[in-house]
Symmetry: C2
């Protein structure tokens, strides 16, 4: 709703041509960021390099993004479909599907390296941390909370659960293995974790 | 046992005086690392700075440690008592004590900043990562596994649990909140998490 209002105001101020140019520049920048990270990795990717590949000036990038991490985050998100968890009625099976997909993502060396680099940058960049939370982690956790609510309505898990605590029973242990590299992160692990976490919500 | 053997061999090769000098240097280096991190933080702490404070040459530090992270890790560990979990017979109460102590530690700005910096360094330094696992995380997870075994023997939790998966039900969600800063990390959270994680092991 708010986004629509904003778009309408922007359309009123700018000409349609200038809007189309903006859209093209944004798309080119995100594609350039994706290509750069895939070819030379996050660490060597720079705003200058992205601008060069996209055929825009550095200032065009800084108009929309405050850091390399923010551009790369949006490039990652541009490739993702809208986040909605499966709801087949079988709560355990649906969560198992999600946790398997999550460990598969972390098992992809390219995605894992980029997420790790973003996670490191977040620790010293509160603006990036907020943006990752708002655009990536928040929506993921919210989608999971919606699936937990539907399980609560179906009487499959306790009605009085704190859902913020509950969602981290699924993703917390996966991040622990991924960041601290304590043990293998594979589908067998996703399945064991699903069993325990579902039991926790009993 | 192995440590005693090694000490005996070292004593045989080196004179008692040289051993005493080594012990004094190690103690001074660890104290200097602690003081430096407390005063100027992990990021600005350097091997040179630690050497200067401890009154030793840089090479003396590199004889025992391969990186700043490795020295700081040992300095942190020198202040910790041996890790053993309480075993009062009340499994839930004992785990609640441990999780409260863990969130208290993460709530301490100094400790939290140092652990965060170590965690970041670990991501690009496999030797440091291995050392943190071997000397800090591994012993913590092992001590928790011993407590879970004693609960299994008492018939308080399932006998067929994979204890590696089980321990991360307690610590994974805490790390998730701490690293991703999703939500407040306080004692109320430690208590809610204890309830759910204990139920998971049911």
């Amino acid at each position: 709703m708010i986004v629509n209002e904003t778009n309408r105001i922007v359309s009123f101020v700018k000409s349609p041509d200038s809007n189309r140019r903006s859209d093209r520049a944004r798309t080119a920048i995100l594609a350039a960021a994706t290509a750069s990270v895939a070819e030379i990795g996050y660490a060597k990717t720079t705003i200058e390099g992205i601008a060069g590949r996209a055929g825009v000036g550095k200032q065009t990038i800084y108009r929309w993004w405050s850091s390399k991490g923010a551009v790369v985050l949006d490039a990652l998100l541009a490739e993702q479909a809208e986040i909605e968890l499966p709801d087949t009625g079988d709560f355990t099976a649906d969560l198992r599907t999600v946790l398997r997909a999550t460990v598969d993502e972390f098992a992809d060396p390219g995605i894992s390296a980029t997420l790790r680099a973003l996670m490191i940058d977040m620790q010293n960049d509160p603006a990036l941390s907020e943006r990752v939370m708002e655009r990536m982690l928040g929506p993921q956790l919210d989608a999971t909370k919606r699936r937990l609510e539907s399980a609560q309505e179906a009487g499959q898990i306790s009605a009085d659960l704190d859902l913020d605590v509950a969602v981290e029973m699924f993703f917390g242990p996966i991040y622990h293995r991924w960041i601290l590299q304590t043990m293998p992160l594979d589908r067998a692990y996703a399945d064991s974790l699903t069993t325990l976490a579902v039991r926790a919500l009993g």
